[in-house]
Amino acid sequence: MKLHLKNKIFRILCLPLLFISCSSDLDFNQVDDFKLEPIFVGNLVYFDVPANQFFDDGAEQAIAFDAQEFDVFKNKFFKDNLVKAEFNFEITNTINRPFTISLILLDNNDQQLQTLRYEAPAYSGTTTVLQFNEIFQNERLDLLKQTTKLAFLINLKAGPPLNENTTGTLKLRSSATAYTEIK
């Protein structure tokens, strides 16, 4: 009797150990398909130049120039994962003279990679916001990724003479949209 009972106890105790459960079909190789495609937006370039900056020492300044470092692609994340980029520019000219704005992408050796050129017509009484859009893919994207400096060149074009009291500004606002793919 006692032995029989012990056997019974043992069998019952073994039950949970033999508890075999079921599981749905799982496929862990799916991890290989892992891919994130986040899209980031950010400021790109901003300036707002008053008209009197084009008038210095009693004379018109036909050219304004500045160069800035652009080290985004020193960052490995963007260099490796950027698959497409889009630049959006908004130019507002409230000076009664037309301008040409050039954005020059330079590499490490100051070699010109690409030039983006926009015309801003003279102000005629109504404020207009001009919009320009650049898309970088494939070869153009590769050139963008080599960019380490941005140079800005503003050319003052012919029109009514400027003086210290000329009103208005030449404004540029821009944003970048970075399409990334992380595997």
């Binding site: 009797m1 006692k2 009972l5 012990k6 019974k8 106890i9 043992f10 019952i12 105790l13 039950l15 949970p16 150990l17 508890f19 459960s21 079921c22 599981s23 749905s24 079909d25 799982l26 496929d27 862990f28 190789n29 799916q30 991890v31 290989d32 398909d33 892992f34 994130l36 986040p38 899209i39 980031f40 937006v41 950010g42 400021n43 790109l44 370039v45 901003y46 300036f47 707002d48 130049v49 900056q53 304004a64 120039f65 500045d66 160069a67 800035q68 470092e69 652009f70 080290d71 985004v72 020193k74 959006n88 400096k149 941005l150 800005f152 606002r173 944003s175 949209t177 970075a178 992380i182």
Partner: protein, 466 residues
């Protein structure tokens, strides 16, 4: 990558909840129940656990996803599944892993044959991991900020801690009279590795307004800190040892030390009404070995490139500016971590006096033994955020004199249909117990959010029956 996924999903598959050992709690036929209540009414002449096999437990829980959600072989794209998991998760969801392995344990009665004072002791190893789901950071990683203009991504969502430690403990409990059992346990912790990042704050914000001159108003405000102990040397290039071996050595022999205390009580309101309560791991560890703390603290406003045509200026460098504003600092200060403290309580009503099947039950027993018991238990555990709380209803039955069965129904943040089954049997001096949580999920473990098991073998010696 595949193996990591496999491990993660196995863990997720074997999900079970936290350190709520609702089956073991007050299951006094198992000596290890003293680890969840040092004042449990456990009696023995002496006992010892079979080394490495006396107490094995693993608990994994995640209340936001199961292995099935991520890895089901159902033709749905993996990235869509990942997105679904992120979308349905919140920053209150947590993934919890707790594993314990008893290296050895034992106990003996002190005093004469009539004494009811007991000593118990042992060493166990423990691994603890608790991470809150970093919802905002996950959204930023999967979608970017393009469609979230005006949203502040909260960096406080990054919240995790992990620890490997060994615990050496000695406990004492005494049945003071027929009504009261009191017990306490002292613990020495030795932490082999710790990572704590629980006090983060800050945000990543992209806003747009017509009044700001630039197109976007972009701010990163960061107050991030990750404290580690016992880990930094593994990250060094010159390290060429074996991580598991070194980690094991540190955990048992060269860890950061800490102290802790357990306390518990069993009180018989009446012979068949019993109340118990315990507090476990009221303690701290002074993290002092191989410390490395990383911080990213600062504020950075990103305005893009701003050429200056009026004067000659130093060209600005965006990434340099960023690194200057939010520098990565490494500190080497010791720090103190609190152990997750657990609180248990139960009320139990026993009924139907036990009658032995055996031929001879001639000796009149001093205390009556009941065949059935029902009751309720409460569990709470401190975490980085609000405490975890679980409520359990249970039924216990002596199937035979030396075979006890307990079933539990538990509500907690991981599940409200958690049914557990536990058995403890004694063959001669040999005690074996197996406790399994969340048995309903066994019909498809891959869909389980939480499951736990505990298992162990002991030799328990009682006074010989006269």
């Amino acid at each position: 990558m595949k193996s990591i996924a496999l491990i993660l999903s196995l863990l997720a598959g074997f999900c079970c909840f936290s350190q709520n050992k609702q089956l073991l709690y007050n299951f006094t036929e198992v000596p290890q129940s003293l680890l969840v209540n040092p004042g449990a009414d456990v009696a023995y002449k002496y006992y010892f656990g079979i080394p490495l096999l006396s107490g094995i437990s693993a608990n994994v829980g995640s209340n936001s996803f199961s292995a099935y959600d991520l890895f089901a072989n159902n033709g749905v794209d993996f990235n869509d599944k990942l997105r679904n998991v992120i979308e349905k998760s919140s920053n209150k969801d947590k993934t919890y892993i707790n594993q314990q392995l008893e290296l050895f344990s034992g106990g003996f009665r002190v005093g004469g044959a009539n004494s009811q004072s007991y000593v118990s002791f042992g060493v166990y190893q423990e691994f603890d991991f608790l991470m809150y789901f970093p919802k905002d950071v996950a959204i930023l990683a999967i979608d970017g900020n393009q469609n979230y203009i005006g949203k502040s991504f909260n960096l406080a969502d990054l919240n995790l801690k992990a620890e490997v430690l060994s615990v050496f403990h000695v406990g004492f409990h005494k049945k003071i009279n027929k009504k009261v059992v009191l017990g306490g346990r002292a613990k020495i912790y030795s932490s082999g590795a710790n990572a704590t990042s629980t006090k983060n704050s800050g945000f990543i914000f992209t806003g747009q307004s017509n009044t700001s001159p630039n197109i976007y108003n972009q701010i990163i405000d960061s107050n991030l800190e990750l404290r580690t102990s016992g880990i930094s040397k593994f990250n060094k290039d010159e390290y060429d040892g074996s991580i598991p071996k070194d980690l094991l050595h540190n955990t048992f022999f060269a860890g950061s030390l800490g102290l802790g205390l357990d306390a518990g009580i069993t009180y018989y309101i009446q012979e068949n009404w019993q109340f118990t309560a315990s507090i476990i791991d009221l303690g701290f560890i002074k993290q002092s070995k191989d410390i490395e703390t990383f911080t990213y603290k600062g504020r950075y406003q990103y305005d893009g490139v701003q050429p200056n045509f009026s004067s000659i200026d130093e060209p600005e460098n965006i990434f340099d500016e960023f690194e200057k504003a939010i520098p990565r600092d490494t500190l080497y200060n010791k720090y103190t971590t609190n152990r997750p403290t657990k609180f248990n309580a139960s009320i139990q009503y026993s009924f139907k006096e036990y009658r032995s099947d055996q031929d001879c039950n001639c000796k009149s027993q001093e205390t009556r033994k009941y065949r059935n018991a029902v009751g309720a238990q409460l569990f709470a555990m401190t975490t980085q955020k609000e405490p975890l709380v679980a409520f359990t209803a249970f039924y216990k039955r002596s199937v035979f004199e030396k075979l006890d069965f307990k079933t539990t129904y538990t509500f907690d943040t991981f599940s409200n249909t958690n049914i557990g089954l536990g058995l403890s049997g004694t063959l001669g001096k040999f005690n074996i117990y197996a406790l399994v949580d969340n048995v309903l999920e066994f019909k498809d473990v891959s869909k389980a959010n939480s499951m736990a098991f505990q298992f162990g073998l002991n030799f328990v010696f009682q006074d010989p029956e006269e």
